[in-house]
Symmetry: C2
DNA sequence: TCGCATCAGTGAAGCGGTTAAGTTCCGTGC
DNA sequence: GCACGGAACTTAACCGCTTCACTGATGCGA
């Protein structure tokens, strides 16, 4: 529990080599000293098992080689995938990825971001719950921030990887319309107070254009809750409790939510694909092994992780980058969960 | 990019109140000072928007209220769930959970653990790749460590949450035998050099006892790779490449792997449940919405997260705890993926 | 031969807190 | 009336590293 084995400090290496701590500090970072002393210092450091204390280093203003990765809601399976992928990407570049979960709470999200900033992470990747929060500005001023999925409107970020949601929505609704669907329910993730996310707007625009009857409902990512919401939808008892027509297709803004619909459909003995079409949004690996495999959007998770990491690393290293705003286009992974139906 | 807005420091609060920094430091932690000054200091601190710098605090030897959560392999869907659950659990207790991923690499795992220790996390939760590594000892001496899923044999940990693997294996193999299966393939996660994990041993013991023909194969968590391995198994071309009999049941040591088997079975036009029985190990939320729903073991993930967090927090706060070794018993979630078959 | 960069290395001042060891001041018990 | 003890603060020494300003040597062109 206590800290028995004191670690070797810079000073000890200095004493061992007969140099000043400053010289050693420089030497170990390959600056400013002769090749010869550098070798000598490195050897001594190795012999003594010296490893720089990241905390002291951070306090004195150095790099930490830590990068914060902040998920808005780690309950979402796709976010889990994304965070893991980003983590690996960064690890490959010898940086430590600290993954944090805001649990869908905008205040917590900001608090965590601040904590990360205070920990002197070199950079911060965030898939935000509340992209328009004021707080981002100050954070982005202190550390390079790359946002994923949404622009941090109030902040000057180091880059962003965005999803062309409008394209995604158009693609899916087009597809569903082409299959003959007219009455569609759209399930979007609940942001406790998701402010001006324009997804709803896009949905309504597309719906108007395509003459579709859509209903947009918020829905949590967690399977149980998603199932509950889906149950109500398939019951015709959605939204306000008013009894209304059951949709022929459900378009879910995350595969997690789609899984809830599968569960509810099974309970109601509805065959997904035949009796009810379902479309997801993320192409989670599991989606392809469902029965029927989930028709969903593929945004290229691996690339997203790669691009996001690249942007962050570039910013950290002070490199300029040509395009700091990446817009990902979706590809429809057409599988078996959305099928045609006679008109009506 | 630069750090423009300097944060208010302890000194500034001291000056504002006409006290010494020491007094302020004490006051803010409610020690050693009169009620009156404490109030005065708190007010000044609030007015100035003072927030202690965690790095400086850590350097000086204080608490950080950060807890490290280290996953051996965040590719595994169940680990994703577990880490997320632990994160929430800790968050609820006002501690920051830093989730890291060792990517299945034992060396990296230790490096990350050290990094975390050096970051002065108050505690460390770890679901280890290599529980018998020497390195754990020194880490556990510097920070309270709670291990999940395996004992850190060489280290004096603050607690452990273990799974009764033997019971799990017995349960599943018993179950499969009862259903009439005799030829069973067991797919275990690859540890790059998983040393003395006794799972294989348990499997063989149980197999001998039950007169089963089992083959144990290592398998990665990632869906693509798991599918590839499963493909070979269903091909009868497993292991060494020698042609041999196809098993009637596959027992997977993680649901992730089971998903790979589902995928491979679909490719081979085998109906899971009828033509091939599959059993998983984790009860991932998605498992219940597969077709057929995956028969798997339920270890009570929520409780695991809760217990692990509890042990860690207790250790951090220096509380003694009655049982620092929790053994979780599995419950068989019998669903549709493992069904009976005639003898043979 | 001199003046002036340049290079290798040193000293010391932080970074922003914590904490052990005083220093005052004051109420008490005897 | 006085030594004593504790409350309330202050002083100053770190924690371990980075970095700025500076000192000597050395090289070198003029």
């Amino acid at each position: 529990m206590a800290r028995p084995s004191k670690r070797t400090t810079l000073r000890e290496v200095a004493e061992a080599t007969g140099l000043s701590t400053a010289a050693v500090s420089y030497a170990l970072r390959g600056k400013h000293v002769s090749k010869e002393t550098e070798q000598r210092v490195r050897k001594a450091a190795a012999d003594l098992g010296y490893e720089a204390d990241p905390i002291a280093r951070a306090l004195a203003g150095g790099r930490t080689s830590m990068v914060g990765v902040l998920s808005g809601d780690l309950q979402d399976l796709w976010q889990q995938q994304l965070m893991a992928a980003i983590g690996r990407e960064l690890l490959a570049g010898d940086r430590y990825a600290l993954i944090l979960d805001a649990g869908g709470d905008p205040e917590r999200e900001l608090a965590l971001a601040k904590q990360l900033r205070d920990q002197r992470v070199d950079g911060l990747l965030v898939s935000p719950v509340d992209p328009s929060a004021e707080g981002w500005a100050k954070i982005a001023d202190a550390v390079p921030v790359v946002s994923i999925g949404d622009s941090l409107r109030r902040a000057r970020t180091a880059g962003e990887v965005l999803f062309d949601n409008r394209a995604g929505i158009d693609t899916v609704l087009d597809h569903l319309r082409g299959l003959g669907h007219r009455r569609i329910t759209v399930l979007t993730p609940t942001g406790p107070s998701t402010p001006d996310r324009p997804a709803d707007v896009y949905v309504r625009e597309a719906a108007d254009r395509l003459h579709l009857t859509v209903e947009v409902l918020p829905c949590a990512q967690e399977l149980g809750e998603a199932t509950a919401v889906a149950r109500r939808v398939l019951d015709g008892a959605g939204g306000g409790g008013a009894r209304r027509a059951v949709p022929t297709a459900v378009f879910c803004f995350s595969d997690s939510i789609a899984y809830g619909v599968y569960a509810a459909a099974a309970e109601a003995s509805l065959a997904v694909g035949r009796d009810l079409s379902v479309v997801g949004f993320d192409d989670h690996p599991v989606s392809r092994i469902l029965t029927p495999p989930l028709t969903t959007l593929d945004w290229g998770l691996a690339d997203i992780a790669k691009e996001a990491a690249r942007l962050a690393v570039a910013a950290i290293e002070g490199r300029r980058v040509r395009r700091k705003r990446i817009l990902c286009a979706p590809r429809l992974s057409e599988r078996g969960s959305a099928l045609g139906r006679g008109p009506g």
